[in-house]
């Protein structure tokens, strides 16, 4: 019998209370009538089936009733319903959007076969501070031969081609991959095939696989493109396949995949590092085991090639983890910000529902008196809050769907994933989970409070909720939570803003105004010879310099910031040389006039000259930091050092330039004459960026510059037409996006918090009307009342600020990598955030406070 009674707990409590006893009685009768063990078992089976079915139906009955009731009551107060749903929508929308970005960048499996076993292999020279360096073909070949941890290993490099053939020549980003790579990734081509062993056979024609975007854009999506011959840097290659639209490798920019092949001579120079390794782990091998094995392999190679492989290790890591710390941190910061917004939204909803429950306490009390049990009231209020949350959640999903493409600008393009995450089931599931949790979370407290007190005091005339100590605590806690969350957001947003200003304030070392840059990447082998290149430069430069308004024009290998690497070891004569710790300097070939075109100050000596040819002694112009490092306090002019495959003599000193960007320390810079290099040597550093300083808007020169390039070489495409100021602005673009996104979150949070505080404090005042009336009647002055209300508000704000500052400091510490050296405890930021929060609290409490002052004692006390 006791068992049956326990079973009845499956029914709604109200149903059980009403009919439980009778059902037990009936069960007892049936047990009495049943004969034998079989009869008893049958009675039990029947009871079990009955409870299972009818309990479910009883719950459904109640739900239908509550739903109908809730819809009716909400329709009667549309303002409340819309506010609550709007607030829920903001919270759920922010959190869902942030979740989908974070999931996309950090957690979702890469769209490749066996992504968890996909690893990247790089060289590392930790002694020099380089964690991930490119790999040399020689080391790649030996790593592959000597290791056993991998099912397959391939190599790739990013590059760019002048794509010709039909139509205008065009510059395309590409990746050269060995035959294994696309096989390892395991993505089927949309049409045709990927590279196979036949493409590696000696004498096989060059082949190429196209990306979907390029196929659609340049070839109009024709199926006939397969088998066509295109020109890559002037060399014919046969199109063998087209990849699907979602395929990106190794980053989002690559649109063409060409076959990477190594000739026997490529394996010789192990200091020539320009490829990356990619491999799939064997199913039974862990990453740690693979790392241990590769450590051994690297050590073995260091012994075999002590010069080129000095202190060179092997870095093995999950392909998923090939992310800069900033890129990793950003989605987490976003998630944190969204969490704050969600917290504030939920707090607001709680206070809204709490206030509503107070207003409705008479109605609830009447219903309780008419026999509705506490659980029925709780259940009904919960239905209301969940319904509101679901409405808000649906709106929130729309909001998130709109916000995700904007937030997607935070997705780093170094990952082989689409920019915008797909809106899939996970997205909706996340929104649904958040919504339901929020609905129950913010509904449960008001429901229990209202349900609990409904029976007793609710009916008493003048029974007032709100003065009781515990309720006051709840409300204070809500205020404190709102202030805390907004302080955290404000501080984080402020810190990022300070970091942006700091970075924007960094002097790049050159002047950007009126400077236009254009890239003409000269293809090989046509331009392998220096004389051919010099002829091209001379023609372009003389045509461009003749244009009206052009003050200076020059060529350089790579513009600063547009290309950050490109370093070469420096060897000083007479200084002990350790190949593992050779200092590096940034190497650039330039034509005369580069420094004046960029406004880089010449501190001593001279610029490179037309006469600095291969017949003349090799010269170098070095930056000031180079002088400080090697010849401090001495005259650097005439000093010599081994660099770029020759002994160079310093002829000039120029100011330092932020080659590696505004936020990183750059190596000292060495500029060499574009003529002083052997044919087909150091070919990666061939000058290709044209810089033009002009009066007025330099963009108007673009057609004439294109004409000048066409005049020099009709086959040569022009790419990357940009203002130098845009390149520098690009340095801070991600930060500007970050700040804007976080500011949007902070503004939302602040607005929500202000509204929430206003609501909470208004309610606190209105529930103290009688007390205030008594005080005024006893002679309290208006300033006292005002002070009392504001003091209460500020006391709560102070707690929130204290808590918020502590949390914000912790948050700031954890995102220090994003702060460009701004201290997480930055006083200006903290004071600003505190000021704003206090202002918000005061603004929120001002109207309620004024209302308190205006309380008429007679009216207030007549309410009793």
């Amino acid at each position: 019998m006791r068992l049956y009674r326990a079973l009845l707990h499956v029914y709604p409590a109200s149903f059980r209370a009403e009919y439980g006893d009778e059902m037990c009685a009936i069960f007892a009768e049936k047990r009495r009538e049943a004969t034998g063990r079989l009869g008893a078992i049958l009675v039990w089976l029947e009871a079990l089936a009955d409870v299972a079915v009818s309990a479910l139906r009883a719950h459904a009955d109640l739900f239908r009733q509550d739903l109908a009731f809730t819809t009716r009551t909400l329709r009667r107060s549309p303002g409340f319903a819309l506010t609550a749903m709007g607030v829920a929508a903001l919270g759920v929308g922010a959190a869902t959007a942030a979740f989908s970005i974070t999931d996309h960048v950090l957690f979702r499996r890469l769209p490749f076969a066996f992504p968890e076993r996909l690893v990247k292999l790089d060289q590392e020279q930790l002694a020099r501070g380089y964690g991930h360096m490119e790999l040399s073909p020689g080391n790649y070949r030996d790593w592959k031969a000597l290791s056993h941890s991998f099912e397959a290993m391939g190599a790739y490099r990013t590059r760019a081609y002048n794509l010709g053939g039909d139509g205008e020549p065009e510059r395309v980003e590409a990746s050269a991959v060995t035959v294994e790579v696309l096989e390892i990734l395991g993505v089927r081509p949309l049409a045709g095939r990927v590279f196979g062993p036949q493409d590696d056979a000696p004498g096989a024609p060059d082949t190429v696989v196209l990306g979907y975007g390029l196929w659609q854009g340049r070839f109009g999506g024709e199926a006939g493109v397969l088998g066509r011959t295109v020109l890559l840097d002037g060399n014919p290659a046969v199109v063998i396949g087209v990849m699907p639209p979602a395929f990106h490798f190794p980053n989002r920019d690559a649109e063409v995949w060409s076959a990477l092949r190594f000739g026997p001579s490529d394996y010789d120079d192990r200091s020539d590092t320009y490829i990356h390794g990619i491999a799939r782990l064997r199913p039974d091998v862990t990453l740690a085991q693979a790392r241990a094995e590769m450590r051994g392999v690297a050590a073995q190679l260091e012994r075999a090639f002590p010069e080129a492989n000095a202190r060179t290790g092997a870095a093995v890591f999950h392909f998923r983890d090939d992310l800069a710390p900033q890129a990793r941190l950003l989605p987490l910061a976003l998630l944190g910000a969204a969490g704050c917004v969600l917290l504030i939204a939920c707090t607001n909803l709680t206070s809204l529902l709490l206030a509503r429950a107070m207003v409705r306490r008479k109605e609830l009390a009447v219903r309780a008196a008419l026999g509705a049990g506490r659980d029925r009231l709780v259940r009904q209020l919960l239905t209301e809050s969940v319904l509101l949350a679901l409405g808000g959640g649906a709106l929130g999903v729309l909001l998130a769907a709109g916000a995700v493409p904007v937030l997607a600008r935070l997705v780093p393009n170094s990952l082989p994933i689409a920019e915008t995450p797909a809106m899939d089931l996970r997205f909706v599931a996340c929104a649904l989970a958040l919504t339901t949790a929020a609905g129950i979370g913010f509904g449960v407290l008001p429901a229990f409070r209202a349900g609990g007190q409904a029976g007793v005091g609710g009916l008493q005339e003048g029974g007032r909720g709100g003065v009781g100590g515990r309720r006051e605590h709840v409300r204070s806690a809500l205020v404190v939570a709102e202030v805390t969350a907004s302080v955290v957001l404000l501080v984080c947003c402020g810190l990022l803003l300070r970091a942006l200003w700091r970075v924007q304030g960094v002097d790049p070392g050159f002047r950007t105004d009126g400077v236009l840059t254009v890239r003409t990447a000269l293809p090989l082998p046509r331009y392998g010879r220096v004389a051919a290149r010099e002829q091209f430069y001379a023609r372009v430069l003389s045509d461009v310099r003749a244009l009206p308004g052009v003050a200076d024009a020059a060529y350089i290998s790579y513009l600063p910031m547009a290309m950050r690497g490109g370093v070469w070891p420096v060897i000083l004569p007479g200084v002990a040389d350790d190949p593992g710790t050779r200092p590096l300097a940034s190497l650039r070939f330039v034509t005369p006039g580069f420094f004046s075109a960029l406004g880089i100050p010449l501190r001593a000596g001279r610029d490179v000259r037309e006469s600095d040819t291969r017949e003349a002694p090799p010269v170098a112009v070095v930056s000031e930091s180079m002088v400080r490092r090697y010849w401090p306090g001495q005259d650097p002019i005439g000093r010599q050092f081994q660099f770029g495959l020759a002994l160079r003599t310093v002829v000039g000193v120029v100011g330092d330039v932020r080659v590696r960007g505004l936020e990183r320390t750059s190596e000292p810079q060495v500029y060499l004459s574009s003529k002083q290099v052997q044919d087909n040597s150091i070919i990666g550093y061939t000058p290709q960026d044209l810089v033009i300083r002009a009066q007025g808007d330099p963009m108007r020169l673009v057609p004439a510059i294109r004409e000048a390039v066409r005049h020099a070489d009709p086959q040569q495409p022009v790419s990357g037409v940009r203002l130098l100021s845009d390149i520098v602005a690009g340095e801070t673009a991600p930060r500007r996006v970050q700040v804007r996104v976080l500011a949007a979150f902070a503004a939302t949070a602040l607005a929500l918090a202000a509204v929430g505080l206003h609501g909470l404090l208004s309610f606190a005042v209105s529930s103290r009307v009688q007390e205030i009336g008594v005080r005024i009647a006893l002679g309290a002055r208006a300033s006292h009342i005002l002070g009392m209300v504001l003091r209460d508000a500020l006391a709560m704000a102070a707690m929130g600020v204290g808590l918020g500052l502590a949390l914000a400091y912790a948050a700031g510490r954890s995102m220090e990598a994003l702060l460009a050296g701004v201290h997480p405890g930055d006083a200006v930021t903290l004071l600003g955030a505190v000021g704003l929060s206090v202002a918000m609290t005061l603004a929120g409490s001002l109207v309620p406070a004024l209302r308190a002052v205006g309380v008429d004692p007679l009216t207030a006390m007549r309410v009793e």
Partner: protein, 117 residues
């Protein structure tokens, strides 16, 4: 409470049987179960859960009321609650019976049921 009997039609089977069982006398829950079983020769055996879900809804709809009149003390079990059909319940039951009767007439007319049309 429903204004018009027709709005509740067609009645769920259990509801109709409960109304029939209460038509001649007030009964308690187990009494209803037994009466229904007897009237249908054991074909319909209401379970306790189904019975009280129906009773709950019928109370809300005003088809039945709980009655304070108790049988003679020696026959009574004070845990039991007795239910009585209301005039509204009776008219709903009559309306349902009429509806079913017309259905049967239709079926007869088309030769699907025995008897005269």
């Amino acid at each position: 409470m429903s204004e018009r009997a027709d709005e509740l039609l067609p009645l769920p089977e259990a509801t109709f049987h409960i109304l029939i069982a209460l038509a001649d006398a007030d009964r308690h829950g187990y009494g209803i179960i037994q009466d229904v079983a007897a009237a249908t020769a054991g074909a319909l055996r209401l379970s306790a859960g189904t019975l009280y879900r129906s009773v709950q809804r019928m109370l809300e709809q005003g088809l039945i009321v709980e009655t304070r009149d108790r049988p003679a003390p020696e026959l009574d079990d004070e845990r039991r609650r007795y239910y009585r059909i209301t005039p509204f319940g009776a008219s709903v039951a009559r309306a349902e019976a009429r509806r079913l009767f017309q259905l049967v007439r239709l079926a007869r007319a088309s030769g699907l049921a025995p008897g005269k049309a």
